[in-house]
């Protein structure tokens, strides 16, 4: 009885086994092909893991060429900068003592969102990537400047670092397009 049960289980499981095996192969190959370009691209950036995880978190990365990956990364910078600016505006109400550096940071992040990011997107889309490098490099500088303005007592350290590091990655990716 047990034998026939186990036999029938094996019999039933074979197509399932085959399907699962094919599935695994499919995923590894599909992932690896997408990973290949993402991996190769990210190897040319100073924060490999951040680069890979950021790009992979966006579905269209798996179908993108290097220019596409650059645009994905720039959009990630934009999103993190936007989050940071919202937080800054909240902090302005909560921490009046930090008003001066917070205001400075607000204008820095405003510039990132209204100047650096649009410049980078336009440059990538229209085909003059060096201006995308300028824009993303500048975003990294603005984030660092903002952090420095607190002289050690920053409530934004994690956020600034996220913007800074993703900007640096985006800049490194645009360099591949030059």
């Amino acid at each position: 009885m047990k034998n026939s049960l186990s036999l029938s289980l094996i019999f039933l499981s074979r197509p399932l086994f085959t399907a699962t095996l094919l599935l695994i192969i499919h995923c590894i190959i599909v992932q690896s092909d997408a990973n290949d370009l993402i991996a190769q691209t990210c190897k040319n950036t100073p924060y490999y893991n951040l680069c890979v995880s950021s790009l992979r978190s966006v579905p269209r990365s798996s179908r993108a060429d290097v220019q596409g990956l650059a645009l994905v990364m720039v959009d990630i910078v934009r999103s993190k900068a936007s989050t940071t600016l919202k937080f800054i505006n909240q902090e302005l109400k909560r921490s009046p003592k930090l008003r001066r550096p917070l205001r400075f940071c607000a204008s820095s992040y405003d510039a990132i969102l209204t100047a650096d990011i649009p410049e980078a997107i336009e440059a990538l889309q229209k085909g003059d990537p060096k201006f995308a490098e300028n824009g993303t490099n500048d975003a990294a500088v603005e984030a660092s400047s903002c952090e420095d303005s607190f002289q050690g007592k920053s409530p934004l350290t994690k956020l600034n670092k996220a913007v800074h590091d993703t900007s640096v990655v985006a800049s490194a990716i645009t360099r591949l397009l030059l």
């Binding site: 599935l23 924060y47 229209k126 085909g127 003059d128 490099n137 500048d138």
Partner: protein
């Protein structure tokens, strides 16, 4: 009134072989990537039928976690990790030369928020800049019917690059500019995504032809023809785009985004017009050659004019003859035994302009450098500071070749947005061959800049002992100085030899002391020397007792602000026997242009002091050498404004 007669003989309208590029076809990836992708598509389709989303998610996570270990099997090759060679976050380092806004985490230096006083000081008095917003490459400079014309890449909407159109200005003397309405905007499908850089050719009958790059509505780079609507209008206000544009599309083998910036045309020995356009094949920078008789139909040369490996994309290429003997400029079509030819390129990879001198073979459409070790892109730069996308033109009214160069900002874009503008043009420079060395050019501000001189101050034989600073009793942020320096001869003989190779950027700037240098001027300094920009010479004594001179500008103390670039620029400068060390410096608010040995080595820098501004800006002589004293004589003029403003009908 529009010009009724066609500019050129009517010819068969060009049937472009260009079809709009389907999205996704053009990729910066190398061929292997594209192969892998099509394989992936096949397999994905085949096995896609078996996908169960839950299992998919589980396996995704697994392969993600293992990815780090599987690098060796997935990657094509194991590269040495480039990240390790990068400098502190945000900075690509001086050696990479990337145009960037490096952040200096000044220890304990308080953040310096910019106020309106500091920002408005930065605008120049006599350098070309539009009233506001962003500018980059010079375009189509020319002289016509009594006016110098200058066009430029312009963003009418922001202080950063974008929405690019052609700005326009005129001048009688290359110094006093009057702004005119925009010459060309992005109103055709073939330049919808950018009316980019181009050059003018003046035909023998005096008519003007403009070739420029358009970024099409699908971001393909093509070349277009434009010409003045009315050749009788000396202001050349309105421009017509040829109805059959584009006249050139990327040829086979050339990337759709690697085809831009056509040059001025010159006549070949066969009587055709010839232009070059920069491009690249993988990482080799090249110049494509096209011949035409009507500027509408072109023949691509089977070879290229020249190529240099590992230089990357060649932007804004330029090609022109220089006289071997004379001090005059030459029309672009001049050729012959008394002439050498210069090939110049702007390198996208490092944002610097390079030139090389060589020989042009008109029949073969080829050019060969005199010295391949200092070939295009790996040798001499026009300028060792900020100077890009430069372009020359032949000024037929004065028989000189004049060079324009785009001078970007080196502050933060926040500041640019706050102050509402970004970028300058350098003072136009004449360009001639240095007949004394034969191996480099000489660049010199056009003589018309001297018309701005106000009162002058002479300082004769000032002694500057080793390790001292001498104030010069004058002030101002707008001045031009001519200074000559002589090193104490005994100190030169005594100085120890060194086999350490000096370089401006790697030697700690003006505060690093050597036996025979650095010495020079402290520009835009405040009384306390909390801010100053040294422009200086450093003399190094090599192994066989030979002297090698370097010319540098050090921005590391130019401002207490921590969001401006603080690099040290400069290079070797040839100094011939018997020559004194000579420097000419133009200071015009936030731009400093310095020329050593009559223009053999030039450095343009942008500085943003917060204290050494307005009446507080001072000038000092300095000598930071450990052993040698220096004697210096100077002549310094205060400079008037050029009153650059919009053109109005009341004025001439």
């Amino acid at each position: 009134m529009a010009d009724p007669s066609p500019l050129l003989p009517v010819s068969n309208s060009l049937e472009p072989s260009y079809n709009p590029v389907p999205e996704g076809t053009v990729s910066a990836g190398c061929p292997a990537t594209r192969l892998r992708r099509s394989k992936k598509v096949l397999i994905a389709v085949f096995s896609g039928l078996l996908v169960v989303s839950l299992i998919l998610a589980t396996i995704n996570n697994n392969s993600g976690a293992q990815h780090g270990d599987e690098n060796a099997s997935l990657a094509a090759s194991r590269e040495t990790a480039k990240p390790e060679t990068l400098l502190p976050a945000g900075s690509r380092g001086v050696s990479a030369g990337v145009s960037e806004k490096a952040n200096l985490k000044g220890a304990g230096v308080k953040d310096y928020p910019w106020n309106n006083s500091m920002l408005s000081w930065q605008r120049t008095a006599f350098h070309f800049q539009p009233e506001d917003n962003w500018m980059n490459d010079p375009n189509g400079p020319l002289y016509y019917k009594g006016w110098y014309h200058f066009f430029y890449q312009y963003n009418p909407n922001a202080a950063v690059w974008g929405d690019i159109v052609w700005g326009h200005a005129v001048s009688k003397d290359l110094i006093h500019w009057l702004h005119l309405p925009l010459a060309m905007v992005a109103d055709e499908w073939y330049d919808k995504n950018g009316v980019w850089t181009g050059s003018a050719t003046i035909l023998p009958d005096g008519k003007i032809v403009m070739l420029y790059t358009g970024s099409t509505n699908e971001s393909v780079q093509v070349q277009n023809l434009a010409y003045p609507a009315d050749h009788n209008d000396p202001l050349l206000l309105r421009w017509v785009k040829y109805s059959g544009n584009p006249v050139l599309v990327p040829p086979p083998g050339i990337g759709a985004k690697d085809f831009r910036d056509p040059t001025t045309a010159w006549k070949t020995s066969e009587g055709k017009w010839r232009i070059i356009i920069g491009s690249k094949i993988n990482k080799t920078g090249i110049a494509l050659v096209y011949d035409t008789e009507d500027f509408i139909n072109y023949t691509l040369s089977s070879g290229i004019l020249h190529a240099v490996p590992k230089t990357g994309m060649w932007e804004c290429v330029d090609f022109y003859p220089v006289s071997k003997t004379g001090q005059n400029g030459l029309d672009t079509s001049v050729n012959g035994p008394q002439v050498k030819h210069v090939v110049k390129t702007s390198l996208d990879d490092d944002r610097h302009d390079y030139y090389a001198i060589g020989t042009y073979d008109d029949k073969a459409a080829k050019w060969y450098p005199d010295n391949p070790e200092i070939d295009v892109g790996i040798g001499i730069r026009y300028d060792y500071g900020i100077f890009y996308a430069s372009k020359t033109f032949y000024d037929q009214s004065k028989g000189r070749r004049v060079l324009w160069g785009w001078i970007g900002e080196s502050d933060s874009e926040v500041a640019d947005v706050k102050k509402g503008w970004a970028s300058l043009q350098g003072i136009p420079r004449t360009v001639v061959l240095d007949t004394k060395t034969g191996s480099n050019l000489l660049q010199w501000p056009v003589e018309e800049v001297e018309s701005l001189r106000l009162k002058s101050n002479d300082f004769n034989n000032m002694e500057v002992k080793a390790g001292s600073v001498v104030p010069l009793e004058l002030d101002g942020a707008t001045q031009t100085s001519f200074a000559e320096f002589e090193l104490d001869k005994k100190a030169i003989e005594r100085a120890a030899e060194s086999n350490v190779e000096f370089s401006c950027s790697n030697n700690g700037g003006a505060s690093h002391r050597g036996a025979l240098g650095p010495f020079g001027l402290l520009v835009l300094a405040d009384d306390n020397l909390s801010e100053y920009t040294p422009v200086y010479f450093f003399v190094a004594k090599g192994n066989n007792g030979s002297l090698k001179t370097f010319f540098c500008t050090d921005q590391s103390r130019s401002s207490v602000a921590n969001d401006v670039r603080k690099e040290i620029y400069g290079s070797y400068v040839p100094v011939l026997k018997g020559e004194k060390l000579l420097v000419r410096i133009l200071v015009d608010h936030s731009i400093i242009e310095s020329f050593a040995q009559g223009g053999r080595t030039c450095i343009t820098s942008r500085v943003y002091p917060t204290r050494a501004i307005y009446g507080a800006a001072r000038l000092f002589l300095f000598n930071n050498a450990t052993e040698a004293g220096v004697t210096s004589s100077l002549k310094i003029w205060n400079m008037n404004s050029a009153f650059i403003r919009p053109y109005s009908n009341e004025q001439q």
